[in-house]
Assembly symmetry: C2
DNA sequence: ACGCATCGTCGATACGCATCGATGAATCGA
DNA sequence: TCGATTCATCGATGCGTATCGACGATGCGT
């Protein structure tokens, strides 16, 4: 492996000059720059990351703390991971994986050993045990998710309140006056991620201001539970029932339960779920969705932490960014009555 | 951040002694060791990774090249990623993500900059453009998947041939003499990962040796295609049809298609799919599965590359490890006739 | 023509650790 | 009791880069 000294020698300059050509932190004449760049190319020189980190006190690596994975959500987590990794590259950074099973100690380790310049925490819970550590670490930390007490922390998340609001408004506009929301699966709810409450809060507020009623039902992987909700929803309304099911697994079950009752989404009943456009279109009946925009959340997360890294000024930052959600009509919801 | 020099001072020894206590590469008296360890604890000293990499020529980081993600397979990829990351920790290594969108250059970068000691490539294709680079890099590379020409490479994968064999034998034993295999989705097949062929090869060979016949049908996300296959399978056999559908998405479609024809898995028809035990049990009718054991493949992958890292002897290694698959009976397959 | 600022480059040093050779202390045999 | 070993530790050096101060060369104004 060639070093910057080799490059310097080949170009007939000092090693420090090579360094300045690369960093641009001091003016270099066009002629010298050319010589150095040629030498770099010919030797296929690449700066040694360890030495760079040691001398420059910056590793250009961001630690990504991935959650322990309830099997059913692995797909959505992977989308975050993937987008975060490629976005990080655009900011000239790499992503190091920190698994949840290392627990809070993992955070201390990667920061203490200075493997990372900063951290991104996924799936932040309401009262997350990692928060005190996050606050005490001397590096920027970005949370995806919003804890109960976000003071002194930098957070980003989808705007679940907006999502709940959008869903209810949409169904109300389609003529539904009783709307049933089926909760996330117990496995998710029990994790105390508060986006569940935020979503419900947004939905309830919208319902109140519009004068429609919202019913809440437990989620679950069991068809009978969902079928029950369907029956209750049917009994509670004169018109056609409407369902909101933000959890992907619950969506699948709901679809099955509706079929079992002979109900067709878009004709006898409205259903709004949460899925990427691609997945939504693949359904037998294309699903109207509330898009929580994981890719956009990921991109912004990386952007925010990279800004913090450049800012470099100490002192705990604090901010909260909510990414607007997008509702999309497809075949699974009734169309609004004409003229209204 | 305290350094090993600080520790040395606190313990009243030389810095090199601290280093030897940590690495164990020279004998240290019990008394000195104790002093040093106490100092480490009190200062909460953690060795600087950059300096360690620079001096020790070993980063303790493994690059994991994750594939570009057809949305539908994200879940399974995440399982690999997650298990690889936590297994790596057991071998005292960390995982750095390298995204496919950086292409082959990404491999050269992380190795050239010496960010990584070795690489794991996922989803290796038949004629993978990364192979020449993998061979030319001066670090251990472990492939998950088997290219057409694995010479000079170290590979691991599930034993898809065994999987195909097991499925066919199992269905034959249950009394089926015509077995229909539905291919992976076109998106997967077109990627030229050859596990598809290996699976089919194993199935065909088993069929031949058992005197049953195997029909192949194209996979797809379209219900009508699958329904077609169901009809053809029904026409081609006196008894009850049998299906093998290793692709998860295809499985879902198949289930729907069977329902549409009024067929019940386990009663009128046998179905073997591929899913983790958890997911299989969650189905309305628990699915008999061929388990491709992604977690085991991941664990062994990490183990192999860590061994290579320790071996350190140059010269291209070459090996091929196949992880046995496991077939599990659940409710979706017919039971073998008594006494046979 | 001369002092002065500016520009471009060099040399030296620090970053924190691993490792090698050397040194002093302790142990052993005869 | 003395030299030969072995054991435990120290000091010095190198890993490859970033950065700071210094220095010669150039251009400016007067």
């Amino acid at each position: 492996m060639p070093t910057s000294k080799d490059v310097a020698q080949a170009a007939g300059v000092a090693q420090s000059t090579v360094s300045y050509v690369l960093s641009g932190k001091r003016p270099i004449s066009e002629k010298t720059r050319k010589k150095v760049e040629d030498a770099i190319e010919q030797l296929t020189y690449q700066p040694n990351a360890g030495a760079r980190a040691l001398a420059g006190r910056r590793t250009h690596v961001i630690g990504l703390v991935i959650p322990f994975i309830p099997e059913l959500e692995m797909g959505s987590i992977m989308e975050f991971v993937s987008v975060i990794a490629s976005t990080a590259r655009q900011y000239d950074h790499d992503i190091l994986l920190v698994t949840e099973d290392e627990g809070a100690a993992g955070l201390r380790r990667v920061v203490g050993q200075q493997i990372c310049d900063g951290l991104i925490l996924m799936q932040v819970e309401d009262e997350d045990e990692r928060l005190p550590i996050a606050r005490s670490l001397n590096v920027p930390v970005l949370l995806i998710g919003i804890p109960r007490d976000p003071s002194g922390l930098v957070c980003i998340d989808a705007d679940f309140e907006m999502a709940g609001d959008q869903c209810v408004r949409d169904l109300a506009a389609a003529g539904h006056d009783v709307i049933s929301i089926i909760d996330w699966q117990p496995a998710v709810v029990n994790r105390h991620v508060n986006y569940v409450e935020r979503f419900m809060g947004g939905a309830d507020a919208a319902a109140q201001s519009l004068g429609v009623s919202v019913q809440h039902f437990p989620g679950g992987a069991d068809v009978s539970i969902i079928t029950d909700s369907v029956d209750k929803a049917l009994a509670a309304t004169h018109g056609k029932p409407a369902f909101i099911a933000p959890d992907r697994t619950v969506q699948d079950i709901l679809r099955r339960a509706l079929t079992a009752r002979g109900l067709t989404p878009g004709a006898d009943v409205s259903v709004i779920g949460s899925a990427s456009p691609t997945l939504a279109e693949l359904q037998p009946i294309p699903l109207s969705t509330i898009d929580l925009r994981p890719a956009e959340v990921s991109r912004r997360a990386v952007k925010i932490i990279c800004n913090l890294l450049e800012a470099e000024n100490q002192g705990p930052h604090e901010s909260l960014e909510l990414v607007p959600t997008v509702i999309t009509h497809r075949a699974s919801t009734l169309r609004p009555p004409h003229g209204s």
